[in-house]
């Protein structure tokens, strides 16, 4: 019996060691290597070496996935770059390039193996040559900047030619000597008065060869011409698309909504009706709230929905603004009565949103998803929610304030767990003791319940609680 058991164990052990990658799952370490510095558009080779934690044996045939941090329209997360498989010495090689400058963190993790230790490399990407040329428009063969440059160059060349004539005429002595031609064309007109005689008569001889302006004029013109042509020739094909600091665009957009402004009408340009809800909507549009919060106050990637704000919270935020971009409106911009009207509109918007929101989703979730999807979750059927699920709740509801405002940040996994003054916000396995869950459930011991605009949907809170209870996996 014991012999038999031993045999089974040995066989099983041998089998497992054959299927090394999977069998040694709990003991694998990923080491990542890559260049520390690179330029935009440069091809980078990132290598990931998978070893056993004990012994350091390389692992062959393991599939590793490469992730990079990304930011888009106010949402931070990771994007999956791709995957590779390790070779005989346990090395997986992956080639990629970055189109945005900045600090990039590439994380490499074993696929299908959450227990392994992921590795990461930090790559600082600086400005390189232009990598993206606009494909918009119709390209007509033979037309391009050279044509513009040629036309402008030709215009200036002709102008300089005219100036050169002036330079020549400013040296009459030399011309007369070298020319030699008799000026036969001169018309002899029987006139009492001749202009040039009048001019010649008093010309003092000593003034002949002195400071001459004409070459300077021609020189200035030539340098202007060169400058303009140089400006045209060296102009880039497109904007510095890889340099968002210089050409940053506000992420404000109207998501999933089209709005046609009907015009103010002839009689009354103000657009106010006297009806609180209607006025509130007009003010919501007029003041620019809709630009970030959505036309129906449904919230968007750039700002959360304000529809669930209480009147007093609305007053606080509107008067003081928030560091994430919410401007402050003074009493002069927006008197309290008008703020009442806005709130009246928001109450109506809340009901509308609640009606439209499908069951199970948070009422304050944005009407559309954001473009950058954080790490994809494995599926809805998974018993324990992943961080990907959680971040989809946290991003629209918390990131509007948490992140830009300092303190706890909902930006990424690490910050959700451990940032802020009351860190850690999440104690894996202990939802009741985690500040994050307390704030959402209302069991908190300090400060206010979150979000201030009203509690999340029960299903969302449950998901976050479940996630924490299950170990708060990344």
């Amino acid at each position: 019996m014991i012999r038999r058991l031993l045999t089974v164990l040995i066989v099983a052990g041998l089998t497992l060691s054959q299927l090394s990658g999977i069998a040694a799952a709990d003991h694998l370490v990923v080491e990542v290597a890559g260049p520390e510095e690179a330029t935009v558009g440069e091809e980078l080779e990132i290598t990931a070496t998978v070893r056993e934690a004990s012994g350091g044996e390389p692992v062959e045939g393991a599939s590793v996935a490469f992730f990079a941090n990304a930011f888009f329209a106010g949402v931070t997360g990771e994007i999956r770059l791709g995957s590779a498989t390790t070779n005989g010495i346990g090395v997986a090689t992956f080639t990629t390039s970055f189109s945005v400058r900045g600090i990039h963190r590439v994380r490499v993790d074993l696929e299908d193996d959450p227990g392994s230790e992921p590795g990461a490399v930090i790559i600082s990407v600086g400005i390189g040559s232009q990598i993206v040329a606009s494909e918009a428009g119709v390209e007509i063969p033979g037309f391009g900047s050279w044509l513009v440059t040629f036309v402008i160059g030709a215009v200036w060349a002709i102008m300089i030619a005219a100036a050169v004539w002036v330079v020549r005429l400013s040296r009459p002595d030399e011309e007369d000597e070298t020319d030699g031609e008799p000026s036969a064309e001169a018309v002899d007109v029987d006139s009492d008065w001749s202009f040039e005689e009048a001019v010649r008569a008093d010309l003092p001889k000593r003034q002949r060869r002195r400071f001459n302006l004409a070459p300077i004029v021609a020189g200035v013109m030539a340098s202007l011409a060169l400058g303009i042509v140089a400006l045209l020739i060296r102009s880039p094909n497109t904007h510095h698309n890889f340099d968002p600091e210089g050409y940053g665009r506000s992420p404000v957009a109207y998501l999933d909504a089209a709005y046609l402004y009907p015009g103010p009408g002839l009689a009354d340009g103000s657009g106010l009706t006297g009806n609180a809800v209607g006025d509130g909507q007009a003010l919501f549009l007029k003041l620019g709230c809709a630009g970030c919060h959505g036309l129906d106050a449904q919230g968007a990637a750039s700002a959360p929905s304000p529809a669930f704000a209480t009147r007093s919270w609305l007053g606080t935020v509107v008067r003081t603004g928030l560091p994430g971009g919410m401007p402050a409106y003074s009493d002069a911009d927006l008197p309290d009565e008008e703020l009442d009207a806005v709130h009246a509109f928001l109450l109506v918007a809340r009901d509308t949103l609640a009606d439209e929101t499908p069951e199970g989703d948070g009422p304050a979730a944005p009407a559309t998803t954001t473009t950058t999807t954080p790490v994809a979750s494995d599926g809805d059927e998974q018993p324990a929610p992943s961080f990907a699920d959680v971040t989809q709740i946290l991003q629209p509801n918390c990131s509007g304030c948490h992140g830009a405002a300092g303190g706890w940040s909902a930006a990424d996994y690490d910050s959700v767990i451990s940032s802020g003054d009351n860190a850690p916000a999440v104690i894996p396995g202990d939802a009741a003791g985690s500040v994050l869950a307390q704030k959402l459930l209302g069991t908190h011991t300090f400060g206010n319940a979150m979000p201030p605009s009203g509690s999340l949907a029960d299903s969302d809170i449950q998901m976050i609680v479940d996630w924490i209870e299950a170990g708060a996996a990344p």
């Binding site: 102008m159 400013s170 001169a186 202009f195 010309l203």
Partner: protein, 448 residues
């Protein structure tokens, strides 16, 4: 005969020799306005553009109006001087110099307002550092620079013989710096035949080249608007429209300037009613062109009345901007035509009145084109409104004063009329008469 030349010489030399009455008064008043404008500009640079009426939604106002208006009136020189020179219209000679002055001075004033419109004027350098040829701003900078250079050269070339004339006649009777200036600017002109030929070549090149340059400048200025995604500016005829408007206001400004200088410097003998009439006819013809352009512009858009156009049409024709628009149409286009085509009204006074109306209307037109285009909301906002502040009015007044001051100083120092050309023309006329009398073909006639 001889008295004619003497009088011409005297008249032209007079302003440089003797200071006209009230000259310093005028210069002082203009300088005071400019000083006030400089203070206003200082306030603007110190506090930022928030001291103007411009905000995020209506971000162009009086300054851009001034820019377009002055680039517009700079077309005076091109039309009167270059086009009429190419067409060999001899009546133009007494007024060409003034037209060319207006061109150069108006261009300087107009270009200045682009800088004034910048909240951070130092960032103008970005156009040079980061300029892309795809950007209409770069086209604008290129075109205005080219035009300014060309018009300065074109002002200077025909003036060389006159400057030599000043050099020779005025040395001794004017201050030292002034005669030194004439000497330097006259670049050794002695009136030899070689020099004449060379000058003629140079002028011939420039008179032809400057016409397409001038057309390109105002086309590009219009494209600053037309290449923007704005319903009101979404027009294919904008280039033509702006060039026509530029020539229109250029003629009007020239007429006003002629009347002023004629009175101040007693040029009645040279600038006659004939000049006002001819320019008046040109102005009326341009008014007709403008009327046609307006009909063309608004009827095509108004017939379809696409989404968004209705708002524009309303604010322009019946709502907020209706007074401006109808003033422009009635007083600026129809009234001048009437004034010029009724013989009894066709006096110098009547024509000058028409010109003043035209300039006012063209300023107003530039203003409402700028503001109505930006006023139509692109985002679901209520339309914003724009009211210029004291800073903008002050700097605008300063712009006009700068223009007037430059003209005042220029005509005081430089030959006010093209003496050389006028004299040569008279010689040609005499030669023609002579050749007709002797019935012989005239060979080697210099066309200039």
């Amino acid at each position: 005969m001889s008295s004619w030349q003497e009088r011409l010489e005297e008249r032209t030399l007079d302003p440089a020799r003797s200071t006209p009455r009230n000259y310093w008064l005028v210069v002082g008043a203009l300088a005071a306005v400019i000083a006030w404008a400089l203070y206003a500009y200082f306030v603007q640079v110190r506090d930022g553009l928030v001291v103007t009426g411009m905000r995020d939604r209506i971000s162009w106002g009086l300054y851009i109006t001034m820019f377009v208006f002055f680039i517009g009136i700079s077309h005076a020189g091109t039309l009167i001087s270059a086009i009429l020179r190419v067409a060999n219209a001899t009546w133009r000679t007494p007024v060409t110099r003034m037209a060319e002055f207006i061109t150069a001075v108006a261009l300087m004033t107009g270009a200045l307002f682009v800088i004034v419109d910048l909240g951070r004027p130092d960032r103008f350098l970005n156009v040079l550092i980061h300029g892309r040829w795809q950007s209409p701003i770069v086209w604008d900078v290129t075109a205005v620079t080219t035009y300014l250079t060309a018009s300065l050269l074109y002002l200077y070339l025909p003036m060389i013989p006159d400057l030599a004339f000043f050099r020779d006649r005025l040395t001794g009777s004017v201050s030292k710096w002034q005669s030194g200036l004439y000497r330097i600017l006259a670049i050794n002109w002695k009136g030899t035949d070689t020099q004449k030929r060379q000058l003629h070549s140079s002028i011939s090149i420039m008179m032809i080249l400057i016409i397409p340059i001038a057309v390109s400048v105002h086309t590009v200025v219009s494209w600053i608007f037309a290449m923007t995604l704005r319903e009101a500016w979404n027009s294919a005829i904008f280039g033509f429209f702006f060039v026509a408007g530029a020539i229109f206001s250029g003629i009007a400004t020239l007429i006003i300037m002629m009347a002023l200088l004629r009175r101040v410097y007693r040029l009645e003998e040279y600038i006659t009613q004939k000049h006002f009439q001819y320019l008046g006819f040109l102005m009326a013809a341009m008014a007709g062109v403008m009327l046609y352009a307006n009909i063309s512009e608004y009827v095509t858009a108004g017939f379809k009345l696409e989404e968004g156009a209705e708002f524009i049409f309303r604010q322009l024709f019946v709502a907020e901007f209706a007074p401006y628009f109808w003033f422009y149409i009635v007083a600026g286009i129809l009234a001048p035509i009437v004034l010029i085509f009724i013989p009894r009204m066709r006096t110098i006074g009547g024509i000058v009145a028409a010109a003043v109306l035209v300039d006012l209307a063209m300023f107003v037109e530039r203003y409402f084109i700028v503001v109505t285009g930006l006023r139509a909301p692109l985002l679901p906002y209520e339309p914003a409104n724009y009211t210029p502040t004291w800073v903008e009015w002050s700097i605008t007044a300063g712009g006009f004063a700068f223009f007037a001051l430059l003209v005042t100083v220029f005509v005081r120092i430089f030959p006010i009329m093209a003496v050389y050309e006028m004299a040569e023309e008279r010689e040609e006329l005499a030669a023609e008469r002579l050749s007709l009398e002797s019935d012989g073909a005239l060979t080697g006639e210099a066309g200039l």
